[in-house]
């Protein structure tokens, strides 16, 4: 029980951090971490098929595709001076 509470808290903090970082590489790694903890949660909910799919597709291939897309465009988010 305690383990699940800690994991879910870390997952929510990491999701908030994915929206705050200015360097897009950090943001992508935080989103990959959310996916990785979701794979662990799927194991606790007795769903091994879905855990394997989420770990291989969500945590590995999504991050790879995002990093290739960053390389073809810009890496840093623009600073917002005025809205």
């Amino acid at each position: 029980m305690m383990l699940e509470i800690i994991l879910i808290f870390v997952m929510l903090v990491s999701a908030i951090a994915a929206g705050i970082f200015k360097d897009l590489l950090n943001s992508i790694i935080a989103a990959g971490f959310v996916s990785f903890i979701a794979a662990i949660l799927f194991y606790f909910l007795h769903a091994p098929d879905v855990a394997m799919a989420e770990a291989s597709i969500g945590a590995a291939l999504t991050v790879a595709i995002f990093i290739i897309a960053i390389r073809k465009t810009e890496r840093f988010e623009e600073d917002e001076k005025s809205d």
Partner: protein, 119 residues
């Protein structure tokens, strides 16, 4: 404490959906908006699997001969979520390809500077 024990996984998926929706609505960089879409996807999948959970249940695989089928968790949401995860990655790949072509054409990824996308 009773509240947390009963609704813990619901709080997780509810929080992820709200955070993803916030990132999609407020941020201005196109790749950040797509990251928000991916977070919403993960949240919805957690919600679907949580609906099929049975307390003190086991995974729906008959590995040994005599396992009671009445103590197994629901296998139908797991099949649907398997489909949803793969479709999520396909959507992400296509969205990023469109973002690359937009950058090639306009030179910037800021949503408020691209004509036709600002609101």
């Amino acid at each position: 404490m009773e509240f947390i024990e009963n609704y813990l996984y619901y709080i997780a998926s509810f929080g992820l959906i709200l955070i993803g929706l916030y990132i999609m609505l407020i941020k201005k960089n196109l790749i950040k908006i797509i990251i928000g879409l991916s977070i919403i996807d993960t949240g919805v999948n957690i919600l679907l699997i949580t609906m099929g959970y049975l307390r003190n249940g086991t995974a729906p695989i008959f590995s040994k001969e005599n396992l009671l089928p009445s103590r197994m968790v629901d296998p139908i949401p797991q099949a649907l979520v398997l489909t949803a995860i793969v479709i999520g990655v396909a959507i992400l790949a296509l969205a990023l390809a469109l973002a690359i072509v937009l950058y090639r054409h306009y030179g910037t990824l800021n949503v408020s500077k691209i004509r036709g996308l600002k609101w």
